[in-house]
């Protein structure tokens, strides 16, 4: 069974700084997707970024980028020039590509951006 581990329950960083959220996962599959979801106080689940495991290039979306290390099964999220609106819970998640399966979430990292 797949598992997703986020080892940082909570982090704080000053506005405009760069912050990296860690995520590791365990799977025996070779084809899968990885995601970072943002959950603000409204509790809506917002997709931040996704990575296909077969792609070597790290995904980037504006200020958000990932460091995907497939051999190490590591998938960290870097937020550059952090903004107050980035304050939220961030979930790392895994989805098998082999069939239409459920998404497996980590426990989340609560990120506080300080003014």
């Amino acid at each position: 069974a797949q598992t997703v581990t986020q080892s940082q329950p909570e982090m704080s960083v000053q506005e405009a700084e760069t912050v990296t959220l860690s995520c590791t996962y365990d799977t025996s599959e070779s084809n899968y997707y990885l995601f970072w979801y943002k959950q603000p106080p409204s509790r809506q689940m917002i997709l931040v970024i996704r990575q296909e495991a077969y792609k070597q290039q790290n995904a980037t979306e504006n200020r958000f980028s990932v460091n995907f290390q497939k051999a190490a099964k590591s998938f960290s999220l870097k937020i550059s020039d952090s903004q107050l609106g980035d304050t939220a819970m961030y979930f790392c998640a895994f989805l098998s590509m082999n069939r239409d399966d459920k998404i497996i979430f980590g426990k989340g990292t609560r990120l506080h951006i300080l003014p």
């Binding site: 509790r43 979930f91 590509m97 239409d100 459920k102």
Partner: protein
Amino acid sequence: EPEVTQTPSHQVTQMGQEVILRCVPISNHLYFYWYRQILGQKVEFLVSFYNNEISEKSEIFDDQFSVERPDGSNFTLKIRSTKLEDSAMYFCASSGPGYYGYTFGSGTRLTVV
């Protein structure tokens, strides 16, 4: 951009009552899901639904839960006799084949009193 729509956004119910949470998936999607998030905890899979039947369910999805696609657009989660511990955020999601367009709704906050 297509959305998954959930209603109501917040529901308060008495313990023991039945509740129905409603979802309108994206129209050309084929796979439908319910997830649950108890306050302060991670998001957990409840059930997946394809071709008018449950394709997978978690151990959380016991006999008090049921899902239905009563018409061509709605996808519902029914909790027959609610318990205090059913208080949570419930998310509906839908997808096409593979990852294609895996999209979450904005959730229904269920409070059982």
